[in-house]
């Protein structure tokens, strides 16, 4: 619907072994730009391992490719934006939002000050997520929701080919979660991004995703969120399932999102 359809990210025979044990096998996946894919699966299914191997933190077999218009493979490596679930920071950490951007965007050492250009770039990206006022705040003193928006802004600097989000809303309350998903949704259309979102909250993720993938060591089910949630495989993987009615009751919220990008009343299933 929103996809330009001209470029895609392709995982072929992708697999990961950790300490000799296979955690992911035979992953074959196409993701088109402008498409938000929600990745679900039980604990230990390999969701985080998939993201960690895609960003290059751990080794993988098979290939990860970015294919441009007309099936031309790019020479430049795939640019990946990654939004972690959390940062390894304690409450006394002096790290500011600007430090985060400067550390990521510039080689000029943080302790020698921040270049004006980096500050401007950080401010521009923060504006996208409504976080300009956070620039000089310490990360340890902003809320979980604000931090997730900051991390999203950071992942967009520079604008990536593929955006990976690792359970970004786990620490957020209901309102914060909805606002965050709305922002992500907007970015998808604005930048024609491919987005892969790992989520624990199956139904909320379903409302915002174009597509859903059920993962457990390999891809078990792949399709429109509604179909995946109705699949008997869901009950096998999680021990509970969804009825047609439960999902249908969520449709209005989904529809409204298409027209109204913010502050819509979200309906919850009983």
């Amino acid at each position: 619907m929103r996809s330009c359809g001209d470029c895609c990210i392709r995982l072929v025979d992708f697999g990961v072994r950790l300490q000799g044990q296979p955690v992911l096998e035979q992953i074959n996946l196409h993701m088109h730009c402008g498409e938000l894919t929600s990745l679900i699966g039980p604990n230990g299914a390999g969701k985080t391992s998939l993201l960690r191997s895609m960003v290059g933190e751990i080794a993988h077999s098979g290939t990860l490719r970015f294919i441009h218009q007309g099936n031309v493979e790019t020479k430049t490596p795939l640019r990946i934006g990654y939004v972690p679930q959390k940062l390894e920071l304690d409450r006394t950490s002096p790290t500011t939002v600007l430090d985060l951007f400067a550390g990521a965007l510039s080689r000029w050492p943080l302790w020698a000050g921040t270049r004006k250009a980096v500050r401007a770039e950080a401010l521009a990206k923060l504006e996208l997520v409504g976080g300009e006022s956070l620039l000089d705040r310490r990360i340890s003193e902003i809320s979980a929701g604000q931090l997730q928006r900051v991390l999203l802004a950071l992942a967009l600097a520079p604008v990536p080919d593929l955006l990976l989000l690792d359970e970004p809303v786990a620490a957020l309350d209901q309102g914060g979660m909805e606002r965050f998903y709305q922002t992500v949704s907007r970015m998808r259309t604005e930048y024609d991004l491919s987005i892969l979102l790992v989520s624990h909250d199956l139904t909320s993720a379903a409302q915002f995703a174009d597509r859903m993938i059920l993962l457990n060591r390999t891809i078990l089910c792949d399709g429109p969120p509604r179909e995946v949630l109705l699949s008997p495989l869901i009950r096998q993987a999680f021990g509970f399932g969804f009825t047609e009615q439960e999902i249908a009751e969520r449709r209005p919220a989904f529809k409204e999102l298409e027209h109204e990008q913010c502050d819509f009343p979200m309906r919850r299933a009983p």
Partner: protein
């Protein structure tokens, strides 16, 4: 060097009239800020316990040097610390044992092994220098080595600080930015091991970790951003190093521990200031 000595001697202080104090002051002004620089990222990486273990591993390194009949055991102390740092880095990656537990195990082992080897025949007392350190005996040659090592750390902090910083925040995030997270972690561990091991004869293995952690912890209480965190840690370390050296001269106490007491004082002040 002679310029430095004549400069010091022109000062109207008793301690400044001695050559050994001039060398010790240079050594303190080199070692303290370098330890403080490392300490900032050690705290960010939550590796304070790891650096403590690196300090204690000097006992085994020292014992290996004695077994091999080396006059100067620095090679075995540094070599063993580096091996241990790499072994612990691998353990963190492949083992399911919690990091603090595995470090405690390793530390117990290297301390026990070192003490057993060094105490054979009741000769442990002659190694007590390594426990409390003796910066007053440093020679110009040794000072040259310290200066070289300080240069390496400062270069690493100029070229790779941001990379180390990103890895300390989140490994996957660093990797997504094209940084080799595992390599950087290993390099950082080795750097800490080398600096700690080299400094031990002068600072003492009992207090070395405090010199690493305290200045950074003090600056952390007060700094509003990473820049002032790092610069503040260096300032605190320079002040406590200078005050510690001079007061140890007048009090006739071990220099390393005296420096640490000053650093503890600064830390307490920073806590009080933070609370207000």
């Amino acid at each position: 060097m002679s310029l430095w000595h004549s400069l010091l001697m022109s000062l109207p202080f008793e301690w400044a009239q001695y050559d050994f104090m001039g060398l010790a002051l240079l050594a303190v002004l080199l070692v303290s800020p370098v330890l403080a620089l490392l300490g900032c990222l050690v705290i960010n990486n939550q590796m304070a316990f790891f650096s403590e273990a690196m300090g204690h591993s000097a006992l085994t390194g020292l014992a290996l040097g004695a077994l091999l009949g080396l006059a100067d055991p620095t090679v075995t102390i540094v070599g063993f610390a580096v091996l241990l740092a790499l072994a612990m880095f691998l353990m963190r990656r492949i083992s399911a044992v919690p990091t603090d537990t595995s470090i405690a195990l390793v530390m117990a082992f290297v301390v026990a092994l070192g003490v057993v080897l060094l105490s054979r025949g009741g000769g442990f007392a002659k190694y007590s220098r390594y426990l409390i350190g003796d910066i007053l005996t440093i020679t110009p040659g040794e000072l040259g080595w310290l200066a070289g090592l300080s240069g390496v750390v400062v270069c690493a902090w100029v070229f790779f600080f941001n990379a180390f910083f990103m890895v300390s925040l989140n490994r996957s995030l660093a990797a997504s930015r094209g940084l080799p997270a595992a390599v950087l972690e290993a390099v950082f561990s080795v750097l800490v091991a080398v600096v700690v091991a080299v400094s031990i004869p002068w600072v003492g293995l009992l207090v070395i970790n405090s010199m690493l952690i305290l200045p950074a912890a003090t600056a952390r209480n007060l700094a509003r951003n990473t820049r002032w965190y790092v610069l503040g840690a260096v300032l605190v370390s320079l002040f406590s190093g200078f005050l510690g050296l001079v007061s140890s001269y007048y009090w006739n106490t071990a220099t390393g521990a005296t420096i640490v007491l000053w650093a503890c004082g600064f830390f307490t002040v920073s806590l009080v200031v933070r609370k207000r």
